[in-house]
């Protein structure tokens, strides 16, 4: 790793970037242009973000706060827990001395903000023994924390066992390398049976014990209730956004999706996230009322559903390209919640979660249910063609959104999806969805250059007559 990278703390860099960016809220165009001259690479993310108006400012504020909390954790007497994106973090906020740091968010941010992404951090992981073929989504930011270029980690807690080996494996490696306690929730390959639910509940209670043991703090019931009540409001707002997304043209700007899921993965249950969602809903409602597309051009030529995740390897290049070509981004696996009232839920018992705040036990059960129904822990845990799994979810989502095509974009580190993505692609084609498989790495631009990715995307859209 280049020695100079150790000179700056990663969390501080993010905090500084967002805290400064937030101040541009009232900047004139000229002032903004002048500022971005000093941060040429940041502009790749910040310029399109700031173009989104109010919700983006709240997003920037939220991220600034999140990273400031991490930077100040030790000063504030808080412990730092390393966790994963598909874990609902509200539980961490229910004890008063814990701050979560989510690796995939950090990796995506470096990819979107820095010229060299987090390549050096990724390579650092390999240098200290982590498998080079492991998923890049963790390898990026993880390298910084392992190298001491980020917050000191006190414990590791996550939820991907049984769903994504390479994810759980990365965190267990980090815990081992940093010599800190580790706890991972485990998921059977099924979702809806009663015994599975019991397993989830017991497993989640162990997590509660783990957190209490290692933070020395008891859970604050009122605080937990407040977080979950807030989460109910958030889910309702998300449901409304999802519902409006069904309109043609889609009134939701594509970039909203990343704002929605990135914030959810770090700020679920917190008021700032609700604020951002409210601001979004307001704009989307207005777009919908006026029959306006969320695309900058206002002309929607095609609706693409991302069956897995997005590509963050060159700023927000993927969204830009979609926008320029009149392709509406219909969200991806990450932007969904499986709350009971979500518009795409099937009504099959056990497939969704319900938030019950009656007492501590029911709140813990609810959280266990939520965690077992996060996008990945729900959709890619079992056989892709089993009921309520990847294929059925994709078909029902692509169906209600009137998608014209499907795109798989992921990372070569994803053993799980790369072991059946050819099968799902084949099936989706059979169901009439032209489906494109991107071989690039969402977080590591070195795997396939963005130019090549775009060339292939362009080829797909043109040859399949989608544009």
């Amino acid at each position: 790793m280049r020695p100079e990278l150790l000179e700056y703390n990663l969390d501080w860099l993010f905090a500084a970037t967002f805290n400064i960016a937030k101040k541009t809220e009232n900047a004139t165009e000229k002032e903004l242009a002048r500022l971005l001259q000093f941060a040429p690479y940041d502009s790749g993310l910040l310029t399109p973000l700031l173009g989104l108006g109010k919700p983006a400012i709240t997003f920037i504020d939220l991220f600034g706060e999140y990273y400031s909390n991490i930077v100040n954790a030790k000063r504030d007497g808080k412990k730092v827990v390393m966790t994963t994106f598909c874990f609902d973090p509200s539980i961490f906020y229910a004890v008063n001395n814990l701050v979560p740091v989510t690796l995939e968010i950090g990796t995506a941010l470096t990819s979107m903000l820095w010229k060299r992404g987090s390549y050096d951090f990724m390579d650092f992981c390999t240098e200290v023994g982590f498998s080079e073929t492991g998923c890049s989504s963790q390898r990026g930011a993880m390298g910084a924390y392992l190298a001491g270029a980020g917050a000191k980690i006190d414990l590791v807690a996550l939820n991907m066992g049984g769903v994504c080996d390479t994810n759980a494996n990365a965190y267990s490696f980090a815990a081992q390398y940093l010599n800190v306690p580790y706890y991972g929730l485990d998921y059977p390959s099924q979702l809806t049976t009663e015994e599975v639910r019991r397993y989830h509940y017991k497993d989640y209670r162990e997590l509660i014990q783990f957190i209490e043991t290692h933070t020395g703090c008891k859970f604050d019931i009122d605080r937990l209730r407040e977080l979950l009540e807030e989460k109910k409001i958030q889910d309702a707002l998300l449901d409304e956004i999802e519902e409006m997304q069904r309109l043609v043209p889609n009134p939701v700007p594509g970039l909203y999706h990343i704002l929605i899921y990135a914030s959810r993965y770090i700020y679920s249950g917190r008021k700032k996230y609700t604020k951002m969602l409210r601001e979004m809903v307001e704009i989307i409602r207005k777009n919908a009322a006026e029959g306006r597309s969320g695309l900058n051009s206002g002309v929607e030529k095609c609706r693409a559903f991302l069956i897995y995740i997005d590509n963050y390897s060159l700023n927000v290049g993927m969204w830009d390209w979609f926008d320029q070509n009149g392709i509406a981004h219909m969200g991806n696996i990450l932007s969904r919640t499986f709350s009971e009232k979500a518009p795409y839920t099937t009504g099959i018992p056990g497939t969704t979660y319900e938030i019950n705040t009656r007492d501590f036990e029911s709140m813990i059960d609810s959280l266990a249910d939520i965690n077992a129904r996060m996008p990945m822990t729900r959709t890619i845990r079992g056989p892709y063609d089993a009921p309520n799994m990847w294929l059925e979810d994709t078909l029902s989502l692509a169906g209600i959104y009137n998608a014209d095509c499907c795109i798989y974009n992921g990372t070569p580190g994803c053993r799980n999806t790369w072991s059946n993505v050819k099968l799902i692609t084949r099936d989706l084609e059979k169901y009439g969805y032209p489906t494109h498989l991107v071989y690039a790495d969402s977080f590591d631009g070195r795997v396939e250059s963005w130019d090549t990715t775009v060339m292939r995307l362009d080829e797909f859209f043109r040859i399949r007559g989608l544009l």
Partner: protein, 265 residues
């Protein structure tokens, strides 16, 4: 005193060295042909004639390199890791870490003061981080591999290559050539990408000073300088002989050890 030889059949070049009384009396480097046996015979003939001896006048000969098993005339085959370690340590006695950038692989070896291997790593992925990578890139640039090194030292703003994959990097270079980037900046970018890959390998183990670089890659100043920069350490160069000869020299030195230990043929 015995006359010993080392023969290193690599994927791109074949090297041989004859040592008499701890002095190199003949050395040669030729391009490897498709058949390792032929290349070995050819290079041996060359060094023998240079030394003015007959091949049967050699007391002990050790073969190394990927073609080592198929050479008929050697008394023993030893891996190139051991040979490079011995050779480099002899050439640079203070060396404790050896970075060898060969035609098709790259290795980093940590040794003790006797030249014994303590630990080594080799690339096991693909051509990136090997001499082949530089060759292919030079070819795209329409220059020689040694020009690649020279040009890059004149760069003021090296291009950052996203990919170290030999295939993607080629496409990237073409893109930069078409965008009329300065060739020296492209060359510097190539060398930096290469150095990055090699540094990753080096960092997987505890490297110790002094670091010495061998193999064809050692002739590329751009890579050597960039590598030193990334590792934050000075890299010692081999001036006495061609750094590509380190493996063959090491083989000959091991041969000389064998004759001293009485395993004469």
């Amino acid at each position: 005193m015995s006359i010993v030889a080392g023969c290193d059949v690599g994927s791109l070049t074949t090297k041989a060295v004859i040592i008499n009384n701890r002095r190199i009396v003949a050395a040669a480097i030729i391009r490897s042909g498709p058949r390792p046996v032929q290349s070995a015979n050819e290079v041996m003939e060359k060094v023998c004639s240079e030394a003015g001896i007959l091949q049967k006048g050699i007391d002990f000969c050790i073969g190394t390199g990927y073609g080592r098993e198929s050479i008929e005339f050697v008394d023993e085959a030893v891996s190139e890791i051991s040979c490079h370690a011995k050779g480099a340590q002899w050439l640079v006695p203070s060396a404790r870490t050896i970075v060898d950038i060969g035609g098709q692989d790259c290795k980093v070896i940590r040794i003790d003061k006797e030249g014994n291997v303590q630990k080594f790593v080799t690339n096991d992925k693909c051509a990136s981080g090997t001499g082949r990578f530089l060759d292919v890139m030079a070819n795209v640039m329409n220059i020689t591999t040694s020009e690649l090194g020279k040009l890059s030292t004149k760069s003021t703003s090296p291009i950052a290559f996203a990919s170290v994959c030999t295939v993607w990097a080629q496409a990237d270079i073409i893109k930069h050539i078409n965008a009329r980037c300065r060739p020296e900046d492209i060359c510097a970018g190539i060398n930096a990408a290469m150095a990055n890959r090699v540094s990753m390998l080096a960092n997987t183990m505890k490297i110790e000073d002094d670091i010495c670089i061998t193999g064809g890659g050692a002739k590329n100043d751009g890579v050597v300088n960039a590598l030193g920069g990334i590792l934050g350490r000075r890299i010692k160069r081999i001036n006495r002989v061609d750094p590509q000869l380190a493996g063959a020299i090491g083989a000959a030195l091991l041969a000389s050890q064998r004759t001293r230990n009485g395993s004469n043929r």
